[in-house]
């Protein structure tokens, strides 16, 4: 069924003109409306003013009408609209609500009597206006959505750019610190300036290395070692800085090795993303700085080690001197070579080396030293009190053992290998003679020194065999300990008491052993001349043992 036709020029009367103006006002109001419901309300409310009919409803596309028959009819009339059949209504019509943005549904009206042509024209015009307003609304909504999306994207972009700018500012500031060589103090100062919060830089043990900002604690609080380790483990597992009470911590740990910790003091918890970012950048720059410092220290240590090795092995004087001068070291001062052995409560060569290094620096006794297995070789550049040095090492170790062999003075570079040999010999004699831990100066070795200096060791060997050869053979065959017993006995001036204590044997055992010695050698231990030769022979035996290494 087609829409009623309207012959406007003939029918445009005064009343219709007024009504059309009403439609115009309504249309404008719909255009200005802010929501679809407002438009639909206006449409529905206006219908009775335009035509003698009632509104059945506005059926949105896809919306349920509650009446399958009505839905089917609306589907048939489609976007053009048209007459439909409703129960109890002589006349009913579906006016399409459509516009540029599509078809939104139908305005369904009904009347007991078919409305006039003018009225139907007005109803159609109202539906068209509603459709146009809905279409406008739809397009505006789309535009608003697009604008909102664009705005959100812009906002995110602004946020990203802002974060990047802040990041660049932080990075730039800290990089400048790194390049300027201001070290840990500079890094702490920069992070403090960037965050406004106090900043501490600690070593891995919790000792304060640098502070920037107000209220520096004095003394600086330090966690127990176990809590510190626990904290560092937690921080290592976290990608971002971690909070520990009123502090935010970030680790400087290139390649997993914790070199230091940078701390933002934030008891009020005001640090935000910007502050965290500054802390993280600070940790990165601190890691670089600490790695650089450590690398320098390692290089210097390596160069020093090489220098010591060359000196001990007999170096080319000119190149060695040049190297020493480059290190800021005066090799042309008199030196002595010291060989030092020992350990703390635990046998840790590295800890022992560090203890010797600290003690030698504090004493002072010298700064050139190398580790050689369990021993540390120190080139002492002054005549220190060696016993005091030994005690200082024990203090550094917190107990344990320490003994030192001291070589003769080196006045020239060529003397270093000799002084080194002497120090090692002194150390071996100390072991061979079973002396207590002590300092043994080669200069003070007395008869040992004479024996070592003897060029013909065969004569020394024959002397040993002449006096204690039978005892050595007996010990070897029987697994006995007679030479050692004799040596201790003679060293202690024939004291049974002291000898038994040193050998940790019973007095009767000692007496038995001495009787065996008398029987095997046929010598009288009460004869001073014999005792002297036996003492010399045992020392010569120690010397030979030491020389044979």
């Amino acid at each position: 069924m087609s829409a009623p036709e309207l012959d406007l020029p003939h029918q445009l009367g005064r009343g219709l003109l007024s009504t059309m103006r009403s439609l115009l006002v309504l249309g404008q109001l719909m255009t200005e409306s802010t929501g679809e419901q407002q438009i639909l309300d206006l449409t529905v409310t206006a219908v009775p003013s335009l035509a003698r009919c009632q509104v059945i409803g506005i059926q949105r596309v896809g919306g349920a009408t509650g009446s399958p028959e009505l839905e089917a009819q609306l589907g048939l009339v489609g976007v053009t609209g048209g007459r439909i059949e409703l129960p109890d209504a002589a006349w009913s019509w579906a006016y399409p609500l459509g516009g540029l943005a599509g078809h939104f549904g139908h305005l369904v009206v009904a009347a007991d009597v078919e409305p006039t042509t003018e009225e139907q024209f007005l109803l159609r015009a109202l539906a068209q206006q509603s459709g146009a307003a809905l279409s406008n609304q739809h397009l505006h909504a789309q535009e608003r959505t697009t604008a909102a999306e664009l705005s959100a994207v812009n906002e995110r972009l602004r946020g990203t750019v802002g974060a990047l700018q802040r990041s660049m500012e932080i990075h730039g500031r800290l990089t400048a610190v790194a390049v300027s060589g201001e070290g840990r103090d500079g890094i702490a100062r920069a992070v403090h300036e960037l965050t406004g919060l106090p900043v501490a830089i600690e070593d891995r043990y919790g000792n304060l290395g640098a502070w920037a900002g107000p209220n520096r604690p004095d003394p600086y609080p330090k966690d127990s070692p176990s809590r510190r380790e626990q904290l560092l483990r937690s921080a290592s597992r976290s990608i971002r800085p971690i909070r520990d009470g009123g502090r935010l911590l970030a680790l400087a740990h290139p390649q997993g090795d914790i070199l230091g910790v940078i701390v933002l003091v934030d008891p009020a918890g005001i640090a935000g993303e910007h502050e965290l970012m500054a802390l993280e950048h600070g940790a990165t720059i601190l890691a670089m700085e600490l790695a650089r410092v450590r690398s320098l220290a390692e290089s210097e240590l390596r160069i020093r080690r090489d220098l010591v090795d060359e000196l001990l092995a007999g170096a080319d004087e000119e190149s060695t001197l040049t190297r020493a001068i480059a290190l800021g070291y005066d090799l042309q001062r008199p030196h002595r070579v010291l060989v030092i052995e020992g350990h703390g409560r635990a046998k840790d060569n590295d800890a022992f080396f560090q203890a010797v290094r600290h003690a030698a620096r504090e004493e002072p006794a010298g700064t050139l030293l190398v580790a050689r297995g369990p021993q540390v070789v120190l080139l002492a550049d002054c005549e220190a009190d060696w016993e005091s040095l030994r005690n200082a090492i024990l203090r550094e170790l917190g107990g344990g053992r320490a003994r030192i062999g001291v070589g003769e003075r080196c006045d020239r570079l060529a003397d270093f290998p000799r002084s080194y040999r002497q120090a090692r010999l002194a150390m071996r004699l100390l072991a061979a003679a079973e002396w207590d831990d002590r300092v043994v100066r080669f200069d003070d070795l007395g008869v040992y020194r004479l024996l070592i200096g003897n060029e013909d060791l065969g004569e020394v060997e024959r002397f040993v065999q002449r006096w204690i050869g039978s005892l050595l053979a007996y010990d070897q065959q029987r697994g006995a300990d007679l030479v050692r017993t004799l040596s201790h006995y003679l060293d202690r001036g024939g004291s049974y008491e002291a000898t038994a204590a040193a050998l940790i044997v019973h007095r009767n055992t000692l007496k038995y052993r001495l009787q065996r010695i008398r029987q095997i050698t046929g010598l009288d231990l009460a004869d001073p001349e014999i005792c002297f030769n036996l003492a010399l022979a045992t020392r010569a035996w120690h010397t030979l043992s030491a020389l044979r290494g």
Binding site: L29, E32, G35, L42
Partner: protein, 210 residues
């Protein structure tokens, strides 16, 4: 040059090509504060320049900020001191006791407009009301359209124009909009002042209501 409404019978609204008549009761539809100010400020500016009494009732709590731009070209302080411009909040004018009463409101205008004309000697009065207060959940606000209808009887009593500001972003109920259309003889919409064909005389409208 602004021509006084007292002599010409025409009232410049301050908008290009928009002129009201004496005793017009205008419903201005707008969307949001910017569009409101685009109607309100020129209306007041024209009134002050013409020497009219201006009574402005705002629901926006920051009235000073709203009318602030007028100070660019006018001495607003002076206008307020000499009684040409009254700035009032909706709580003071429409809801003085925490509720809305039609009779009390009409008395308010009677006093305000009557005194301005009869005692202060103003030749013309411009009254403007921002109507969003009527959306509050307060006693009496349901009588808004009755008030608007009865206001039409008050208009001819004095040389005046009353401009009612309705924000379409706040007044979203289409049925209410139709009622507002029926109670205002003039509609200001999209920069056009229209004779409102929906307008219904108060006697007819009020009898329909009852």
């Amino acid at each position: 040059m602004t021509t006084p409404a007292t002599t010409s019978g025409f009232v410049a609204m301050g908008l290009p090509g928009v002129t009201a008549r004496r005793c017009d009761h205008i419903c201005a539809f707008y969307r949001g504060p910017d569009q409101r100010d685009a109607v309100l400020l020129p209306f007041l500016r024209e009134g002050i320049l013409a020497g009219d009494k201006c009574i402005c009732v705002m629901d926006d709590p920051d009235t000073d900020r709203v009318i602030g731009p007028l100070s660019d070209t006018l001495d607003i302080e002076l206008s307020m001191r000499n009684g040409q411009l009254d700035l009032l909040g909706s709580d003071t004018a429409y809801l003085p006791n925490g509720y809305f009463a039609v009779d009390e409101m009409l008395e308010f205008w009677e006093r305000g407009v009557g005194d301005a004309v009869q005692q202060a000697g103003f030749g013309f009065v411009r009254a403007v009301g921002e109507m969003t207060w009527a959306l509050r959940d307060l006693p009496g606000v349901q009588h808004l359209v009755t008030y608007e209808a009865r206001l039409n009887r008050f208009l001819p009593r004095y040389p005046q124009v009353i401009l009612c500001l309705y924000d379409l972003e706040r007044f979203t109920d289409g049925q209410v909009l139709i009622e507002l259309l029926r109670t205002h003889p003039k509609v200001l919409l999209s920069g056009q002042l229209l004779d409102n064909p929906w307008y219904t005389e108060p006697s007819e409208y009020l009898s329909d209501l009852t």
